[in-house]
């Protein structure tokens, strides 16, 4: 039953901190805590609250804070990746643009990222429902994307974008791990980040096979042997600067 979400409410008058507020086994929320039904829901009135739930504030969706904020942040990144590869594999001339190996890799990445996206959607929804929250208000909506002048029939452009997205994913999960409170979530992030790193390696190898790029000196520190890790706020700034995500959103509670 380890995968079943269980929420046991305790008497709020007794809780010492928010971790005690929710006792959840398996897929659990801890740390910043969740607003439960019956608590004062005031985060639509423009006053930032201390519950840090994902949701609309001042007319803009905020990713929220705490573990649920990190999950929502990951969900946003996985939406981007899934959308990108969906467009890649469905582009006119996909079979002509890429050789058979490249098609296989890109098709696998399409599947994996779509699975990641659907996983986060289900997981976050489950946590919200169990906590008495309305997913319609708290779940990050489906984002819309625009890749500008990116030519999906140009091999080099697609692979370069893929490389950037996968490396960003690795850096994002690596940099978010330290902010995750619940070990179950940390493990899930770990299960995903290594797949992102396998992707990044493969794409880099497709671009430049006869090289060290699969784990290149641009991403793995040549002294420490450590991969890149970047804070959520840094990653979000980078992603926003690409102007691919068409929705406005904020991340006021992420580090």
């Amino acid at each position: 039953m380890k995968n079943e979400v269980k929420v046991h409410e305790v008497n709020p008058s007794n809780f010492k901190n928010r971790r005690d507020f929710l006792k959840i086994s398996g897929l659990a929320v801890a740390g910043t805590g969740l607003l439960l039904a019956g608590c004062n829901d005031d985060d639509d009135n423009g006053t930032p609250d201390d519950q840090q739930l994902p949701g609309v504030r001042n007319g803009v969706f905020d990713l929220g804070g705490g573990d649920l904020g990190i999950l929502t942040y990951a969900y946003a990144l996985e939406q981007l990746e899934a959308d990108f590869y969906t467009k890649v594999v469905n582009a006119t001339g996909f079979a002509a643009t890429f050789n058979s190996t490249e098609q296989e890799v890109l098709t696998d990445l399409y599947k994996h990222e779509l699975i990641h996206r659907e996983f986060f959607k289900a997981a976050i929804t489950g946590v919200l429902v169990e906590a008495g929250q309305d997913p319609a208000a708290r779940l990050l909506p489906n984002l819309t994307f625009d890749y500008g002048t990116l030519n999906f029939s140009d091999r080099n452009s697609v692979l370069a974008t893929s490389k950037a997205l996968e490396d960003t994913g690795v850096a994002a999960y690596n940099g978010a791990g330290r902010y995750i409170v619940n070990p179950a979530y940390l493990l899930l992030a770990g299960k995903i980040v290594s797949v992102e790193a396998r992707h990044a390696s493969a794409i880099r190898s497709l671009i430049n096979p006869n090289s060290t790029d699969f784990a290149g000196d641009d991403v793995v520190n040549i002294t420490t042997g450590l991969d890149v890790a970047r804070k959520p706020s840094v990653i979000i700034g980078e992603v926003k600067s690409l102007n691919i995500i068409q929705n406005n959103f904020t991340a006021n509670y992420l580090s």
Binding site: N3, D108, V193, V195, S201, D227, A229
Partner: protein, 274 residues
């Protein structure tokens, strides 16, 4: 098949009684493997068959320091393996393979230095490794005088070590959760191991990711322990195979890597520790 029944002939004499060395027992399994499907037997079987072998390492404590000590043991193993491989001449020179393994070797050496520095006085001493497992493998072409065959074995072990490394670090994450900076360092090594694993697998003609619990073409059954459990398709209650719009168990299992317990990794490492 009934694994216990299969194991019976081997568990009632020299394996349990410690008469034969682990090297002998592993050789036996190598021979038996030709006629019997050994798919369910873990890589580290030898470790449970003969614990009288004095140099075996034990599980590290479930603490931040224990996690880093455990990581350092694995990095010692990888560092030495790649240095010996590069020295042996089995890796084809002047092309992709040599570049790849020089890069991987550099990273593993960096990881040893980094972890040893982080641990300071708590750093464990480097074990003594035998990458031939008592003559079962010859990854450095010491005896078989066939560099092509030796290199194939080198690649097999490289894949097993990298895929094991990814799972091992993942399994230690929870032990580091109380030390955010150490956790981040471990994650930063973890993803490098995954980059390595992907490239080594692709050098061997496989996908960079693990499908089901498949160890992949050319991998001997003794490496199956590295892959058992990777077929998981239930993630926090979500079915990654059959949920609406998804693609079945192959893609579902590929999209999430699974952890290995400390004991499972220790059992694997002990196969190579003498």
């Amino acid at each position: 098949m009934n694994i216990l029944k299969f194991l019976e002939p081997f568990t009632n004499d020299n394996l349990v009684n410690g008469i034969g060395s682990r090297r002998d027992s592993f050789t036996q399994f190598g021979n038996i493997g030709k006629k019997v499907a050994l798919a369910s037997i873990p890589f580290g079987l030898a470790a449970i068959s003969n614990k009288s072998f004095a140099a075996d390492i034990g599980p590290t404590p479930n603490t931040p320091t224990g996690a880093l000590q455990f990581a350092l043991i694995l990095e010692y193993l990888e560092k030495e393996f790649y240095i010996l491989g590069l020295q042996s001449g089995v890796i084809p020179t002047g092309g992709r393979d040599e570049k790849v393994f020089m890069q991987i070797s550099a990273h593993e050496t960096d990881h040893v230095t980094f972890l040893a520095n982080a641990l300071g006085a708590n750093a464990p001493v480097k074990p003594t490794f035998d990458f031939t497992v008592g003559g079962m493998f010859d990854p450095f072409n010491a005896t078989i005088n066939d560099s092509t065959a030796a290199y194939a074995q080198f690649l097999v072990l490289a894949q097993a070590f990298e895929d094991t490394g990814v799972r091992a670090y993942k399994g230690q994450a929870a032990n580091l959760i109380s030390e955010p900076q150490l956790l981040e360092y471990a994650l930063q090594i973890h993803s490098v191991e995954a980059r390595h694993a992907s490239e080594v697998r692709r050098l061997r003609g496989l996908k960079g990711w693990i499908t089901g619990n498949e160890r992949g073409a050319g991998m001997p059954v003794e490496t199956q322990g590295t892959y058992n459990g990777e077929q998981e398709i239930m993630q926090a209650g979500f079915n990654t195979s059959t949920s609406a719009g998804l693609f079945g168990p192959a893609a579902g299992s590929e999209s999430f890597d699974e952890p290995l317990s400390t004991q499972a990794v220790v059992d694997i490492a002990n196969v190579f520790i003498v």
